[in-house]
């Protein structure tokens, strides 16, 4: 049954890839959506079955066949559903379905076979993402891990005519590969240490060990996996591909580069929570990198003019939050934020898509403004998303972000808490800057309208759905059509209510999501999986530790209610302050922003150019490798030294042969003379000796 979840999108991919070019748009798009819907249905049923099990026995294993076996090394193709995987499956298939539906309208201007190609990639992505989520061992996860990377590559470079798009796709793949190399080495080390790659088996093995307080194997393994995660989840130092990934169609940015794929790194840490909690040193690294990324991306988001790039940096920043949570050991909080973020970030990306769509491909916020009247659905849903991400009480982002900040503080990381809170301020500011520049103020798009026509062709082929617009009219904007509006509304509802599964104890809730997820982060106790699977050693120490951790968590929650409320009030105040600043600068006094930028031009340039990190990498890594390979290795070592030596040997033989040939003159007298001289020399040699 678990295999069916990724299977349906995969079938959708096969059909669209093989015969998609002969299908009508309605058929190929409908097929892709149907595949996702069925997959969602199966995921719901599976989730339901999971809920029917007692809390500590919520594991369903399903082995299809042995994938790779080499002696002691065994990698069966096994899927496993547990609370963590179950939640992720719902997010991936549910939000994935909505984005598929949205895409049917958004991509409507593509030709039939391009349309089918788009949906085949999108379905393939969903299939790989589900394999990633459901994989029961590292190697199966890695199939999905690389597979989603491939789909990301294909979808970023979907408009393959465009150099910038294919460049961005390649960059994404290569940067991810840097992380993947570490992941592969991590798998080798994990196998060498534990003799298995199965998550539960590793967790059981690790649980018996004490936490590794000095640097050692566990720290190295976890750090290697984390490097993998920095690639996939766009963290320092490998985050650079994500903003460029915005070259892809906007629904792709929503699904892959916001809601699902980029959260894979966070998920991976959650999956290996036991391993990570035994490597406190790595955890510190994770937390620090997380908060640093959150802050850095937040500052860059402040100065970007492209609506999608703001959202992209916002994603990087929010992913940083999730890693912060993982790093301070608040695994449930990190996953909770992953889950709420999926709603509001997908919502905002789709909203930006609706704006871009209405403006025929315009992505520059300086050429927008005042759109809220023309695009009411887009505006209101977008506003909900922005309020949610800013952490306004009552919306989903508030609960999850607050949980992270509270846990950060409670675990003694007060500096990280300050930085996290500062990022919260930045988040509110740049989000509302985006809202005001796009939807409020004076419309700036009419004047740019003719230009937009051109940009429409050159920049982004995304365009309106109906195809019946009056192109020449100018200024008549259309809000999202049905297929786009419904996902927006549903996601907006999700952005509001999704947080209520995790209302903290301090507010009288019971944080159900945390209780639900907890078994996934604990070592497998004395319960066997529902279906034949890994049988962990039943051990007093194991279950004792699990219970202890749980008690700890609950105890902390109760004891620190006052602290939690204080922190909560602080962060709400911060969020409102951020919104206030944005209102002041970009709504009330638009000239202030320009003045600010003019006052500290270097700062503005620095942020606008993303701290020049791309340039730094290009100058220090890319160019030197390229140049030294051409000049040094190929033309120098290969052609010069090695082939020089080879051909030199050839020349030597030929040269000496040519010299010797001169002696073969055919003249008998010279032969006789040589014979005579030789004889004399030989006799002389013996006489002298």
């Amino acid at each position: 049954m678990l295999a069916l979840i990724p299977l349906f999108p995969f079938i959708g991919f096969i059909i669209n890839a093989l015969i998609g070019r002969r299908l009508s748009k309605a058929t190929s798009g409908g097929l892709a959506c149907l595949a996702m819907l069925v997959s969602f249905g199966v995921a719901v049923v599976a989730f339901w079955r999971l809920l029917g099990l007692p809390a500590e026995a919520r594991v369903i294993d399903e082995t299809l066949f042995t994938w790779i076996a080499s002696g002691r090394f065994q990698a069966p193709l096994t899927f496993r559903l547990d609370p963590l995987a179950g939640l992720m499956c719902l997010v991936v298939t549910g939000i994935g379905f909505l984005i598929h539906v949205y895409s049917t309208a958004y991509m409507h201007e593509e030709t039939d076979h391009e349309y089918a190609r788009y949906f085949s990639y999108l379905n393939l992505f969903a299939a790989f993402m589900l394999v990633l989520v459901l994989g029961a061992n590292l190697l199966v996860m890695f199939i999905g891990w690389e597979g989603v990377g491939l789909c990301s590559y294909l979808l970023i470079g979907y408009w393959f005519d465009k150099q910038s798009a294919t460049d961005a796709g390649k960059k994404a793949f290569v940067v991810n590969r840097v992380g993947d190399m570490a992941f592969i080495v991590g798998m080798c080390l994990a196998f060498a240490s534990f003799g298995t790659l199965d998550f539960r088996a590793i967790a059981a093995a690790v649980a018996a060990l004490p936490p590794e307080v000095t640097w050692g194997v566990l720290s190295t393994i976890t750090l290697l996996f984390f490097i993998g995660a920095t690639g996939k989840s766009a963290q320092i130092p490998l985050y650079i591909w994500l903003p460029d990934a915005m070259e892809g169609p906007t629904p792709v940015s929503a699904l892959i580069h916001a809601a699902t794929m980029v959260t894979a790194g966070v998920y991976m840490i959650g999956r290996n929570a036991v391993l990570y909690s035994h490597a406190p040193l790595t955890m510190e690294v994770v937390a620090v990198i997380g908060v640093a990324t959150a802050l850095l991306a937040g500052t860059i988001g402040l100065a970007q003019n492209d609506i999608k790039r703001v959202l992209a940096y916002s994603t990087v920043s929010q992913l940083g939050y999730m890693f912060l949570a993982m790093g301070v050991g608040a695994f449930a909080a990190g996953i909770f934020h992953l889950y709420t973020h999926a709603f509001f970030k997908a919502l905002m990306f789709l909203g930006s898509g609706a704006v871009i769509h209405a403006l025929h491909g315009e992505q520059d916020m300086r050429k927008m403004g005042g759109l809220r009247r023309a695009l009411p659905i887009t505006y209101w849903t977008f506003l909900i998303g922005a309020l949610a991400i800013a952490g306004v009480p009552g919306l989903s982002g508030f609960f999850s972000k607050d949980e992270i900040l509270f846990r950060t503080f409670a675990s003694g990381h007060s500096v990280l808490w300050v930085l996290g809170t500062a990022t919260a301020l930045l988040t509110a500011v740049y989000m509302f800057r985006l809202i005001y520049l796009t939807f409020h103020g004076k419309p700036r798009y009419e004047g740019a309208y003719e230009g937009a026509q051109e940009a429409h062709r050159a920049h982004d082929r995304a365009a309106h759905a109906q195809g019946t617009h009056n192109h020449g009219g100018g200024g008549v904007l259309h809000d999202a059509p049905m297929a786009m509006a419904i996902p927006l509304v549903l996601l907006a509802i999700g952005s509001v209510v999704a947080g209520y599964v995790g209302v903290p104890h301090a507010l009288g809730g019971s944080n159900r999501i945390e209780t639900f997820l907890e078994p996934s982060f604990s070592p497998p106790a004395h319960t066997a999986p529902a279906v034949a699977g890994t049988h962990a050693e039943p051990g007093v120490a194991l279950s004792g530790e699990g219970a202890h951790a749980e008690a700890d968590a609950h105890g902390a929650t109760h004891a620190d209610t006052a602290l939690e409320l204080t922190l909560m009030v602080t962060s709400v105040a911060i969020a409102l302050m951020g919104i206030g600043i944005a209102t002041l600068v970009w709504l009330k006094r638009p000239h202030v922003a320009a003045a600010l930028a003019a006052r500290v031009p270097w700062m503005h340039r620095l942020l606008l150019n993303k701290w020049y990190v791309d340039e730094l990498y290009d100058a220090t890594i890319v160019q030197p490798i390229k140049n030294s390979s051409t000049v040094g290795l190929w033309k120098g070592v290969d052609v010069g030294v090695i082939d020089g030596a080879v051909n030199g040997t050839g020349w030597l033989v030929r040269g000496s042969a040519a010299g010797l040939r001169l002696a073969q003159s055919g003249s008998v007298r010279i032969y006789a003379a040589a014979f005579f001289v030789g004889t004399v020399l030989v006799i002389a040699f013996y006489l002298v000796r």
């Binding site: 066949f65 080499s70 090394f73 491939l150 290569v174 080798c188 534990f194 049988h535 080879v646």
Partner: protein, 521 residues
């Protein structure tokens, strides 16, 4: 007496080739028929290799289908053939690639078609013989005999600098194999001194006792020949030239099968015959392999010529094979053998694709292409799958071999494995960059605007490799399982020389101590 299956497999192509020679073909009047006949012979051979696979006992570690006849008894030279888990798939691979190679040069080769087909089939006999010969003398005969057809394939049907490339190819490889011949004769003489009888039989030589320095010299003599063939850095410079100048069929066979003879030789002869020397030299060989992985990738990255790019990528990919072999543990060697098969499929396919592009445009320069996806979506789709298989995407064949080789290397020497793993990044860089420049973007060169997509013949050539890339990625156990007993035996034999270390590297199904977790599936 049962049917001599292996002899049939080995000599059927040669018999077919001879028969072709008898056909009158004035002015190429019967070119098409000759091509079809040659293809038929190659296909029947392939079918026979599949029969061998089907009848192969996957649980047995020893040689199967053994045939032994006295050949030159006074020197102990026998005609001995046999197949085990290591050679089985190389034989199947040879059978698989030869018909595809013929198909891929269907249009590219128009002159002296009869002779061309003759040499391709004769080459097949040589290659198959190398993989099944269990007598050192017989092995050497096949090893050198195979050079001749290859020399002519490059020299007659190649591109502009074909003569240079052909001569370089033959001198380079001969230089290595001459020393190997000396070593082979030395072994027979040593056997005569020890037992009073000359013998070239592999099993006899295996039981020969010798001092370490003797072993070392003989190991080096064998290894040099194999290293040149692999080719191991820094003995690789014949490869780009040979590939660039060879006709498509030549490149396919060269990359697909010939290179494997080097790594196969290491596995079958160099390490088992001289285990002490092998284990002592392994770190150095592996170091060269790792250098090759990185060096090949970096040089491939900056090549302007498609064929050179693929040629240098071979240097990189074959580095993984050598690394896995040097690790001398089950994962490493299974990974190495699997990587040989992968490389045969993927690189063979890449050369076919380059051949198709070059048939259409008569150029192989990357800069001449661009935007091919507009004109040839199907070809580009195949190209994409093969590219992904070449860069080792999980779910396709390349990953399985690469991962197992890295894992084996890691269990042996982690540093090597870590360095080798950087190939994962570099392969993505050079392959995807090339892929982008060739296939994506607008059509900038009008000559590329209306190129025909895959023809039926081209489908027949490229289709099977694409299918294999997928099958071998999804069910690798189909290949790994029959391989395992023979590889285990090999590892045990080599590692038996140092019992202290054997415990660490050998596969024991028992627990590895308290750290080992229980794993049930």
């Amino acid at each position: 007496m049962a049917l001599p299956l292996l002899s049939l497999i080995v000599f059927l192509p040669l018999v077919g080739a001879m028969a072709l020679l008898l056909l009158p073909n004035r002015d190429g009047a019967r070119d098409e028929m000759i091509r079809q006949l040659a293809l038929g012979v190659a296909l029947v051979t392939f079918a026979l290799t599949l029969v061998a696979w089907r009848q192969f006992d996957a649980a047995a570690a020893g040689y199967q289908f053994v045939e032994r006849y006295a050949w030159i008894p006074q020197f102990g030279i026998n005609y001995t053939l046999g197949l085990d888990g290591v050679s089985l798939f190389l034989v199947v691979l040879t059978g698989f690639l030869t018909p595809l190679a013929l198909l891929s040069s269907w249009q590219g080769v128009t002159k002296k078609v009869k002779e061309f087909c003759f040499f391709v089939l004769a080459l097949e006999t040589g290659m198959l013989g190398v993989f099944v010969a269990l007598d050192l003398f017989l092995f050497y005969v096949f090893w050198d005999a195979m050079l001749v057809p290859m020399y002519f394939l490059i020299g007659v049907w190649g591109y502009e600098r074909r003569i240079y490339a052909a001569v370089k190819f033959i001198l380079y490889t001969m230089a290595g194999s001459v020393l190997m011949l000396v070593a082979i004769i030395a072994l027979a003489v040593m056997h005569q001194q020890a037992t009073g009888q000359y013998s070239f039989a592999l099993e006899d030589i295996e039981s020969l006792q010798m001092g370490f320095s003797t072993e070392l010299w003989l190991f080096l003599a064998f290894t040099l020949a194999f290293a040149i063939k692999v080719p191991l850095f820094p003995f690789h410079t014949w490869l780009p030239d040979a590939h660039v100048e060879a006709p498509t069929a030549g490149s396919v066979i060269l990359a697909g099968v010939l290179l494997k003879m080097g790594t196969y030789g290491l596995l079958r002869f160099a390490f088992p015959l001289f285990p002490d020397a092998g284990l002592a030299c392994a770190p150095y060989l592996a170091a060269l392999a790792v250098i090759g992985i990185i060096y090949g990738a970096l040089v491939a990255m900056v090549q302007p010529d498609l064929k050179k790019l693929v040629a240098y990528s071979s240097v990189s990919h074959m580095g993984f094979v050598v690394l896995g072999i040097c690790a001398m543990n089950l994962q490493g060697i299974q990974g190495a053998v699997y990587q040989m098969l992968n490389h045969g499929v993927s690189t063979g396919a890449l050369f076919m694709i380059v051949g198709m592009l070059s048939d259409r445009r008569h150029t192989r320069l990357i800069a001449e292409f661009g935007g091919l996806k507009h004109a040839m979506p199907r070809l580009v789709a195949c190209f994409l799958i093969i590219t992904l298989s070449s860069i080792g995407l999980p779910g396709l064949n390349g990953f399985v071999g690469e991962f197992l080789a890295i894992l084996g290397g890691f269990l042996w020497r982690p540093t090597y494995a870590v360095l080798a793993a950087s190939g994962v990044i570099l392969s993505a860089v050079y392959m995807l960059w090339m892929f982008q420049r060739v296939n994506y973007g607008e059509v900038t060169n009008p000559k590329n605007a209306r190129l025909p997509d895959l023809s039926a013949r081209e489908w027949a050539a490229i289709g099977p490799t694409v299918v294999m890339a997928i099958v071998m990625g999804i069910v690798p156990n189909l290949f790994l399982r029959p391989m395992q007993p023979a590889v285990t035996r090999l590892v045990e034999r080599v590692q038996a020389q140092r019992p202290a270390l054997a415990d660490i590297n050998l596969e024991s199904e028992g627990d590895r101590g308290p750290k080992k977790a229980h794993h049930a599936d």
